[in-house]
């Protein structure tokens, strides 16, 4: 354990790792990541790995597009093949209000330069004959959207961080942060003490816990989402499909398994990472109806993970004005993995240069909750 770090990142998930990786790449020495369990044990290792750019606000689209550019270079930059596949994303609209939203979004996304288009039900049927298009009014399709393996991505970052001379501590829990005269002086862990002046809180749904150690209030809470995986079958599904109306998403992994989940009506707290049989029943009904060819495919495993939800389902990326220097990147509300590379880059720039250079994330500052909330609806 290094005695003195220039930056300590608390949370070794995809966001913390991406931040540390970028810091090291930009020349910062003595970067230390502290992870309380094994690499990819948190939300990162439990998510479905979708990577999309079809968001409803220009700044989010910009951030996502930057992220996709970085995912395209991931194997070269970080050094591991993470099964990144740009098979597209297909969003489905069933109601008139969804149709309005989609058309509005697609117009805006196109103006940002995204390769997105509207598909009619017939076009959807032609592209994906195995989808039951009954009830679908419209689809929006972006070919450069895709997915990857989040566990491999997290591990890839960890290996790269160590290779670049950074430290990535696992099975180490932060127990306190020392502050003197409003200035951070060090981090206490159950494995030792690290002197530092800069701390990044990337602890996912537990980021409020870290914030509370120094009196910073972070409005994030954990919401449990369940997910299941099937046995492997030969590749047939290119895109990740999101059905907001029927409430599910599904994609096929590199391995051939189908991975899918939904938003629970009354989700359990993020602390409870158990499972319900109702989840399997609900998902089965939906799958058989919308993808009849899956009727006899076997479910192998279900698990769950926590979304770190923020009040408007948008990430919170900011630096504390009261405690120097405490930076937090959290509240990703189910789209942390896909934004991580760009977030890592922007936060590292914030730390080194005092401001972002590549992608502006000022719309994600904390003060928006006092100014006014506009919720991101394209969330499942």
């Amino acid at each position: 354990m290094m005695k003195h770090a220039s930056v300590v990142v608390i949370g070794g998930g995809i966001v913390g790792s991406a931040i540390a990786f970028n810091l090291l790449r930009m020349g910062t020495k003595n970067v230390c990541v502290i992870e309380k369990s094994y690499v990819s044990s948190g939300s990162t290792g439990r998510c479905a790995g979708g990577i999309r750019q079809q968001w409803s606000s220009p700044m989010n689209v910009k951030l996502a597009m930057r992220s996709v550019k970085l995912f395209e270079e991931f194997e070269k930059d970080v050094g591991m093949d993470i099964e990144y596949y740009q098979g597209g994303y297909l969003l489905l609209a069933y109601t008139d209000s969804e149709v309005d939203d989609f058309e509005k979004n697609v117009r805006m996304q196109k103006s940002q330069g995204l390769d997105v288009e509207i598909l009619t039900p017939n076009q959807i049927k032609e592209k994906f004959p195995f989808i039951n298009v009954e009830g679908i009014k419209l689809g929006s399709w972006c070919q450069s959207d895709g997915h990857a393996n989040p566990q491999l991505a997290n591990i890839a970052y960890a290996i790269a961080i160590r290779k670049m001379g950074g430290e990535f501590l696992t099975h180490t829990t932060v127990t306190g942060i020392d502050v003197q005269n409003g200035q951070i002086t060090g981090v206490q862990t159950d494995n030792g003490y690290i002197n530092t002046e800069i701390v990044v809180d990337a602890a996912g749904f537990e980021s409020p816990k870290i914030g509370s150690m120094i009196g910073v209030d972070i409005p994030v809470h954990g919401e449990r989402h369940q997910i299941l995986v099937t046995e492997a079958v030969n590749h047939f599904l290119d895109p990740l499909v999101i059905n907001f109306n029927h409430n599910y998403y599904v994609r096929q992994t590199h391995h051939g398994s189908l991975m899918m989940g939904q938003g629970d009506a009354n989700p359990a707290s993020g602390e409870d990472l158990g499972n319900t049989i109702e989840f399997l029943e609900e998902m089965s009904e939906k799958m058989i109806k919308d993808f009849p060819l899956l009727k006899n495919i076997h479910i192998i495993r279900q698990w769950s993970g926590a979304y770190d939800m923020s009040p408007d389902a948008q990430p919170i990326i900011d630096e504390s004005k009261d405690i120097s220097r405490f930076i937090y990147a959290t509240g990703f509300s189910g789209h942390g993995f896909m934004l991580a590379p760009a977030v890592g880059e922007s936060v590292a720039e914030m730390i080194i240069h005092g401001r972002t250079i590549t992608t502006d994330v000022s719309n994600l500052k904390m003060d928006r909750f006092t100014i006014g909330i506009e919720r991101e609806h394209n969330v499942v």
């Binding site: 079958v233 030969n234 051939g256």
Partner: protein
């Protein structure tokens, strides 16, 4: 070893009704109550599939449904555990070569 035991010093084997099943389109002798893997084994068919990554021949391992080594395509359904599936008249059984084929 293939074929069924007819005489045994200790045990008494009585076969039930004969059932017609098909392996790769060819008829195989089977009896009610037997599982697909057992009927195939008696017919000398020990290779039940070829593994998707290395293409290696694979067959029974645990024979009691705990390992997934014996997966076959049965009546069009892929990845079926043949050691747990009882034979039915007219059943169509095939070896799987890759992962299941859906489309």
């Amino acid at each position: 070893m293939e074929g069924r035991i007819l005489d045994h010093p200790i045990l008494n084997f009585t076969r039930k009704k004969r059932v017609k099943i098909f392996f790769e389109g060819n008829e195989i002798e089977a009896y009610e109550g037997e599982t697909v893997a057992v009927a195939l084994h008696a017919a000398g068919i020990k290779v039940l599939r070829y593994t998707p990554i290395n293409g290696r021949p694979a067959g029974l391992f645990c024979a009691v449904g705990k390992c997934s080594s014996c997966l076959m395509e049965i009546d069009g359904m892929p990845n079926v555990r043949s050691c747990m599936t009882k034979v039915k008249a007219g059943m169509q059984i095939r070896r799987q070569h890759e992962k299941g084929e859906l489309v």
